[in-house]
Symmetry: C2
Subunit: 242 residues, 2 copies
């Protein structure tokens, strides 16, 4: 099976949570965001698929994954699907549901991270909503950032397997996503995240462990992992970092 | 099995998506939000459970469901769990994942609906963020509302079973949630939603069908379904309705 991943070109964004799973799971996949337009890359073919009336299960938005004849949308749903196939999730139903529950909490966190720079909506540029972004980011740094990270740290520390993973005794897609969250927060909010992560030694160690995995290292070294930039979810605007 | 539902008292909120499934599925459950505090209702016992270090799989926030010894959080995850047990979801893996994908898109929509009145965050009252709310609601009415509803209408119309349901040939939890979305939008945005729903005859019919189901009618008539109010997700502020 060669998976096909569709996501906006030029950013890590939500697609990166899927990419990390595909890479760690040693899946074969084509990442259309990275292809030149002659080979099917770019936005137009992706939007055609989103609008194609012959698609039985149309996704609402990227990222989406083509797996054989199936088209699967929603980041956490894609990971739920891939988790079993790539051996990146617990096998028992309760563990599977728990991993997914954590991933949905990551999803919520990602929305709040995004909304620090776009509180008034995606139709305006950041530059058109700076005062609102400042206000939203203030509450994010003071309340939401430590609350989410504290929760995830608590989950990691309470994992009875005590191997440093979020769920059970083996790496899961949740660990990959948490490491990505830590990396993104350090890019976007170097000051605020340093303070918040000081209280989260487990998450910091998890970040290092994930990015030291051989397949993830090869992926990063390949140049295929796009750099963080101010077009994505994690954006570095010093004025939002307090 | 007697399920135990924990959610904020006084509002329908995200808890209502779970309640509609429990009601239509004829599940036995205790809704702690409705109990007096002497019987375990109110916020304090719920917050104790959220903080309880002996809980192996702690939820991040309400709603959460206790099912035997299991504690399950995240609205869409609770519905994923209940779907199979209450016969409110397709049985085949592809249909199950598709129903869940739609529910996650409902979740995204709910966040955007909520953020129309709280674009700057939950730490400020609506009255403290009215200009920002007006700006966010403007984009919501013009872009996001028709986009989400148009997508769901398209999904319903493209369902090959052609029975008027979102997924397959039988009612699922997605139908219950869609009906709740229509009801909530009509309360919060009577003007804007009338216009947007004019283009969505399938969703309007689905709303009527769901609220005419015998068990849902009994639930509404029982008085246990709280009224919409301006403390919940769907709030009616005429100035946000254009």
């Amino acid at each position: 099976m060669i998976y096909q991943l569709y996501y906006w070109p030029g950013i890590q964004g939500r697609g990166e949570f899927v990419r990390l799973a595909l890479e760690e799971g040693a899946a074969q996949y084509v990442d259309y965001a990275l292809l030149p337009s002659e080979q099917g890359g770019g936005v137009a073919p992706m939007e055609r698929l989103l609008e194609d009336p012959s698609v039985q299960y149309p996704p609402f938005a990227p990222p989406f994954l083509k797996a054989g004849r199936r088209l699967i949308g929603q980041t956490a749903n894609i990971l739920l699907f891939l988790g079993g196939r790539l051996n990146l999730a617990p096998k028992d139903p309760a563990g599977k549901l728990w991993a997914h529950q954590l991933q949905l909490t990551v999803t919520d966190f990602v929305v709040e991270i995004h909304d620090t720079h776009h509180p008034l909506g995606g139709g305006l540029y950041y530059e058109q909503q700076k005062p609102a972004a400042r206000r939203r980011a203030q509450e994010f740094r003071a309340e939401r950032l430590p609350k989410f990270l504290g929760y995830f740290e608590r989950v990691l520390q309470a994992n009875p397997a005590r191997k440093g993973w979020m769920v059970g005794a083996r790496l899961s897609y949740v660990d990959l996503s948490m490491a990505q969250i830590v990396a993104g927060l350090r890019f976007a909010f170097p000051r605020a995240s340093r303070k918040a992560l000081d209280a989260c030694p487990g998450l910091c160690a998890l970040h290092d462990t994930v990015f030291a995995r051989p397949r993830i290292r090869r992926y990063v070294a390949s140049g295929r992992r796009l750099d963080f930039n101010n077009e994505g979810i994690f954006r570095h605007y010093p004025e939002l970092d307090g």
